[in-house]
């Protein structure tokens, strides 16, 4: 299974991921990134690539 990992030290809450994959990423009212199940993998991969601070990565788990 694929999981999204957020590096909290690096995340700047730019919201680019939320624009690319709004079903998966949401900045909550505290500006903290919430990550759901990576349903649409293509959109998630785009979001990971688009992150301006490189805070997102995908890991494979069994």
């Amino acid at each position: 299974m694929t999981r999204v990992v957020v590096d909290r030290e690096v995340c700047m809450s730019a919201g680019v991921c939320e624009l690319e994959a709004p079903e998966v990423f949401e900045l909550d009212t505290a500006g903290r990134l919430q990550v759901g199940e990576p349903t649409d993998l293509t959109a998630v991969e785009t979001a990971v690539r688009a992150c301006p601070t490189g805070a997102l990565s995908l890991v494979e788990e069994d």
Partner: protein, 424 residues
């Protein structure tokens, strides 16, 4: 693109007149610098009352712009990102806000601000972008009809859209908006003689403009404390992260940043986008016929126009870039417009192609913590504006060359004459 060889020794990127010339000239220079002198060294422009510094390197290759942007610990913004000279620290922070800060302070403030600036909050706040664009377009048509059919693309279309959107977001009353436009023009004039009449008075003019905006902010903030409203200013004065609030000074300088950055950049992307479409009529027709092109078209307009010419970074220690060594304290100007035409990244870079995809341009800055906070707002404004132009101003015709802002920092137009051919 093969271009005649220029005498690079005769080129001075610190001369504001260079930036008032047609963009073909700067792109020819960028191309040659990128090939021959990717870290070309220039003396600093003379600013009255400011001690001139040691000079700077003009970074023109995409890979180097990216390498510098994504290593903020080695390449600092805190020494000043929006001026070539080192400004006094308080001035620097006041006018640069987040832009001229490093972590951890930058991270703290950016996170507080981001809370008020998430895509979903924006969605709610700027649901009216469409209404603003429609209204601006309708007024432009009335202006043409009431006069001789002519309009100024800058004053009648490009300036009012972002001005109204950002002022709506911040809750700036109607009566104060002319002041916002006037003072943000001064702050980003780069000393253009039309906006700052006396160069000797440039610093004074900046200070006065900042003071007026800060005064407006203080008034608004006090009002919002007493009567919270559904706007960004309320969010900024009430937001807390880990028990910390923005100080009054931080709010004032962020307010100025938003007003200035939210106005000038989008305005210049829109006005120069109109110019680019008039120079590429086949692309204009293609977009008019296919609204599905909007996503990639917006990115191409930002790449093509690169409204912010550079941001500065300063080496915090001895550094190496593409095999070259630079001592601590070296200044680098990241020329985004040059990186955005780098053939190593963009196929046929001097071609204006509305369906260019992928388009990893650095018009909003390159990868790193200073990536444009308002990128999603800007994208939306530009997309909505150009669809409104395509649908409601198909008879818009640029009639003459633009008046370019003589500023090295903002790639801007002061005026772009046009007419609506449907008006008789």
């Amino acid at each position: 693109m093969s271009s005649p060889t220029l005498d690079l020794d005769a080129v001075d990127l610190s001369d504001r007149r260079f930036w008032g010339a047609p963009p073909e000239q700067r792109h020819a220079v960028y191309d040659q610098l990128r090939r021959e002198r990717p870290f070309a060294f220039f003396a600093e422009p003379v600013v009255p009352y400011i001690e001139p510094g040691p000079g700077y390197h003009a970074v023109t290759r995409y890979a180097d712009v990216e390498a510098i942007s994504c290593q903020p610990a080695l390449f600092s913004s805190g020494a000043g990102a929006v001026s070539i000279a080192d400004m006094p620290p308080d001035l620097n922070e006041f006018y640069g806000s987040l832009i001229s800060m490093d972590d951890p302070r930058h991270g703290k403030i950016r996170r507080i601000v981001a809370k008020a600036f998430t895509p979903r909050v924006l969605e709610k706040l700027v649901g009216n972008v469409q209404a603003v664009a429609d209204d601006v377009v309708a007024r432009a048509r009335r202006t043409a009809e009431d006069g001789d059919g002519t309009i100024d693309v800058v004053a009648d279309l490009a300036a009012p859209i972002p001005l109204r959107v950002i002022c709506d977001m911040m809750g700036v009353p109607e009566g104060d908006r002319a002041l916002v436009l006037r003072q943000s023009n001064v702050i980003l004039s780069g000393g253009d003689p039309e906006l700052v009449e006396d160069e000797e008075q440039m610093v004074t003019a900046f200070l006065k403009a900042g003071e007026e905006l800060a005064g407006l902010m203080a008034r608004l903030a006090a009002e919002r404390h007493a009567h919270p409203a559904d706007d960004l200013t309320t969010a900024l004065v009430t937001t807390e992260v880990d028990g910390e609030r923005l100080t009054h000074q931080e709010i004032a300088s962020f307010f100025i940043l938003l007003l200035v950055a939210g106005n000038e950049t989008t305005r210049n992307a829109i006005s120069q986008g109109v110019l680019a479409l008039s120079e590429h009529p086949a692309e204009r027709e293609r977009w008019a016929a296919d609204p599905g092109l909007t996503r990639t078209a917006v990115e191409e307009i930002v790449r093509w126009t690169s409204p912010i010419t550079w941001m500065r970074r300063t080496a915090t220690q001895d550094v190496e870039l593409s095999g070259q060594s630079f001592p601590a304290g070296s200044k680098f100007l990241l020329f985004y417009g040059a990186a955005n035409r780098d053939p190593a990244v963009f196929a046929d870079p001097h071609r204006f192609d509305l369906s260019r995809d992928p388009n990893p341009h650095v018009g909003f800055g390159s990868r790193g913590p200073h990536f444009c906070l308002g990128a999603h707002l800007a994208r939306r404004e530009i997309g909505v504006a150009f669809r409104a132009f395509a649908d409601q101003l198909p008879d818009l015709e640029v009639t003459g060359p633009p008046a370019r802002l003589e500023s090295s920092f903002v790639n801007g137009l002061k005026r772009l004459p046009a007419r609506l051919t449907g008006v008789r």
